[in-house]
Amino acid sequence: MTTQLGGPATRALPAPEKFRERSESAAGRIVKIVLLGLLVATAIWAAFPLAEGRHWIGLGVLAATTAGLLYLYLTRRHIPAKYLVPGTIFLIVFQIFPVLYTASTAFTNFGDGHRGSKADAVTAIQTASVTRVPGSTEYALSIATAGDPATGALVFLITDPTSRAVSIGDAGGLRPAPGGVTVNSAGRVTAAPGYTVLNAGQASARSREITDFAVPTAAGAIRSAGLSRAYEGKAVRAYDAATDSIRDTVTGQVWRADDELGAFVAADGERLAQGWRVGVGFANFTRVLTDDTISRDFLRTLIWDFVFAIGSTGGTFLLGMFCAIALQSTRMRFRGFYRIVMVLPYAMPSFAMLLVWRDMFNTDFGLINNVLGTGVDWLGTGLTAQLAVLLVQLWLGYPYMFLVTTGALQAIPAELTDATRVDGAGPFQSFRQVKLPLLLVALTPLLISSFAFNFNNFNAIYLTTEGGPFPADNPSNGATDLLITYTYRLAFGGSGAQYGYAAAISIFIFLIVAVVSAVSFRRTRAQEEVYS
């Protein structure tokens, strides 16, 4: 090293001149320009929807962030910040923001029927209530403007199908068209003096205006059904801002806005289907704690969840370790081949393998019963289904444990084993008292993370048993349900999506996993102190 970089001692230190030169090499400068250009372009690209949606706070945050980043990378100062800021931004965007979003969702009724804002719900209710006036005529429609097709005031040119009389309709109402109007064979107006008839492309550019356009008539209003037909319709339900309620003009029924439920509710308790999103405080959390169907099964599910997580992790670890130790023996031939075969299950996508295993456990057509000649109802009874799930986990998981144990074994010096032999210990005693403790120090963190993963191993259950089999008197909680599959079904499986409720449940699950992991890590640390 010194021979190649040999020279005056002063040049070994990064001279300010040299440092500056390196920080601004041509390639570096180009990368910097491109990245900053991309940053600015992205910011501008993101700014338009924000401005369009009038999210001024978001726009302010965007402008401030962009300006801050530009300043940071165009100045020579704040060297550490240059390295820390990108990671911090990714941390905020991909970790902190989702967590905060989940937490804030948990306090709302967000879900099917409560997705949008109150204004959305009112619009949806009014639009859905527009019905055709009974016995009204079906008109042929041409859309026209007075003057420029893009900016001129809209008019409807409508033709009565029987009399072929053409009328002009605008916000003021309907009046007969003056002479000189050309009508095609389908009854649609193709030219009218003083108006520009729009083609579909021009009309579709003003789509929103056309949909909202209504020509008032005695019985209701003439509205468009597409671009070539018009009908006389009437909005039966209307929103009254003064009383904050929806009124049905035919039956006279009134639904008042209930801002705690996020729905319009009638005096008899009937709700309109279209609701909106509101904050519900701790309602979702108390529901988890007080709901009968949850509290009744919670403990049973929790216990099985622990059994499953410990069983999966422990089983795979024991088998993986056994294989690793067996294959470490130098007396074994074809070790490379065995190692490759051993890792195969790990190389398969578990997603597909779980489905294959599910079919292998089929009572009548499954490979397992066919090969063994048995008629075990594997996934049909609780205990066998639990055993089946654990077997699948064992098959899928032991290669990973085999790999990490092999790695950890390499790190244990062979001299230690030799030393125990000198001291008169047998192979098992030597393994039990020297190798295993050293292995565990290295592997315990992995075992804990594997436990945490299996505790919430949604795929393993959902793709094989879907939580089943279910007891005859309880379709909501099956024998192999983990907390995560059980709550997934509660939140999404039943009557539509309930994101707010699901978010509250996921916070509970997070708390359980966090406590379990924290306790185990504390114990690991204690263990490390003992052996070190």
């Binding site: 501008i44 949806a124 639009t127 859905a128 468009s224 597409g226 008197d473 009557s495």
Partner: protein, 419 residues
């Protein structure tokens, strides 16, 4: 140094200006949707459909685009179409037209995601009555139906030459064939470990069960739940008698994955399935016939569900007027219905199109015959609460569980979710 800094700044400014220029053109376009110049006037219609249908729609979308001077974009959504559609339209990035099953309607309406369409009387009479009824919700037509589907009984005529008149007949024939070792299963009706309410429904209805009562206006009434009533308990008793502890005609080991394959593998003589199974059956060179799903002897008719594929107008679409035009005045033409039939053979909802394809496809007549008494799959939001508990109860009784206890537990779960 100063020159270099200036260079960096200048380059950044250039990038900025370039990006701003792009932004400007984009801005033009955005403004264009409100007030375009006459030359730039061209609308864009975005249609979402599943993979198969989007391929069939492509040529017609292009034709519609050319005729009207607009661009039509078709996007294939391969999975979770309903949720994807709901989420996207909530965020303002959804399509103008959505193609999907009619039983989404209740949920789409309660989320304000679709607009009603106004069909003329003439267009309405051109559609099959059942299909039109299926897309009607709260007295409004939400979308234009284009194809129907229902369950029927596919029979291997080499093994069972005569169509069974009742389930009892079917079981007797199946048992005889099994005793002769010609088949290993009596009936291929998919259930699986967690049941399948859709496929069990014809038998459930025949034995006297119902899901929801109807209101005076003919809509389903979520307040009148049929699961848990005496009729449903009697029906589950009958399913239990057909199950693993009884005749062995219904089995949890027959699932959605293996039911058709078991039939095409000639391991059973009878398959309860829909038009989607015919392609596989033909490929397996099985001589087959299609008949209605038989009911219990002395029971009611075995009414399958009628499912209807529908074109919806998205309420948050950017081009609703054009979407309405496409859905109400173009989807109702027979050409499109026939093309979609050719992409996937399900009976068209348009009577004119159905008559046109009937001549070339005798199976189609049999499928519509099997679905003659089909009832529209309930599209009310409460239906979502039925599927899982009903299916699990079905699986439990097929496995031999007590029918009364099971149905009552399912009814409790369902009514707790309906509220």
């Amino acid at each position: 140094m100063r020159i270099r800094t200036a260079g960096v700044i200048a380059a950044s400014m250039l990038c900025l200006a370039g990006a701003a220029a792009c932004g400007d053109s984009k801005d033009d376009k955005a403004a264009g949707s409100n007030a375009p110049s006459a030359a730039a006037a061209s609308g864009e219609l975005v249609i979402w459909a599943d993979d198969k249908r989007s391929a069939a729609l492509q040529p017609f979308a292009e034709k519609f685009g050319q005729e009207n001077g607009v661009t039509v974009k078709i996007q294939a959504i391969s999975k979770d179409q309903q949720t994807t559609f709901l989420t996207a339209s909530q965020q303002g990035s959804g399509p103008d037209v959505m193609v999907g099953a009619h039983d989404w309607i209740g949920n789409l309406v309660q989320n304000g995601a679709v607009d009603p369409v106004q069909l003329s009387d003439e267009q309405k009479t051109g559609l099959q009555a059942g299909a039109l009824k299926a897309v009607t919700f709260n007295g409004q037509t939400y979308g234009v139906p284009y194809a129907t589907e229902n369950l029927g009984l596919i029979r291997n005529t080499d093994l069972a030459p005569a169509a069974p008149a009742t389930i009892e007949d079917l079981v007797a024939t199946g048992k005889k064939l099994k005793a002769q070792k010609k088949v290993s299963e009596i009936l291929c009706l998919q259930a699986g470990q967690n049941g399948d309410a859709y496929h069990a429904y014809p038998l459930y209805a025949s034995a006297g069960g119902y899901l929801f009562g109807t209101t005076a206006s003919g809509d389903y009434d979520a307040k009148d739940l049929g699961v848990g009533k005496a009729g449903s308990i009697a029906a589950f008793e009958k399913l239990r008698a057909l199950g693993e502890k009884g005749d062995g005609a219904l089995k949890r080991s027959i699932t959605s994955d293996n039911s058709i394959a078991t039939f095409t593998g000639k391991k059973c003589a009878f398959l309860v399935s829909g038009p989607w199974a015919t392609a596989d059956v033909k490929k397996a060179n099985i001589t087959y016939d299609i008949s209605p799903v038989p009911g219990f002897s002395g029971g009611k008719e075995a009414t399958p569900f009628l499912g209807v594929q529908t074109f919806y107008v998205a309420s948050k679409g950017k081009n609703k007027a054009l979407a309405q035009e496409f859905v109400t005045n173009y989807v109702t033409t027979p050409e499109l219905a026939v093309a979609l039939y050719n992409a996937e053979p399900r009976p068209p909802a348009l009577t004119a199109a159905l008559d046109q394809v009937k001549a070339q496809d005798p199976d189609l007549v049999k499928w519509t015959e099997a679905g003659k008494n089909a009832i529209p799959l309930p599209a009310i939001p409460a239906m979502a609460a039925i599927w899982e508990p009903f299916g699990k109860a079905e699986a439990a009784v097929i496995g031999g569980a007590d029918a009364t206890k099971t149905v009552e537990a399912a009814a409790k779960t369902i009514s707790a979710q309906i509220k």
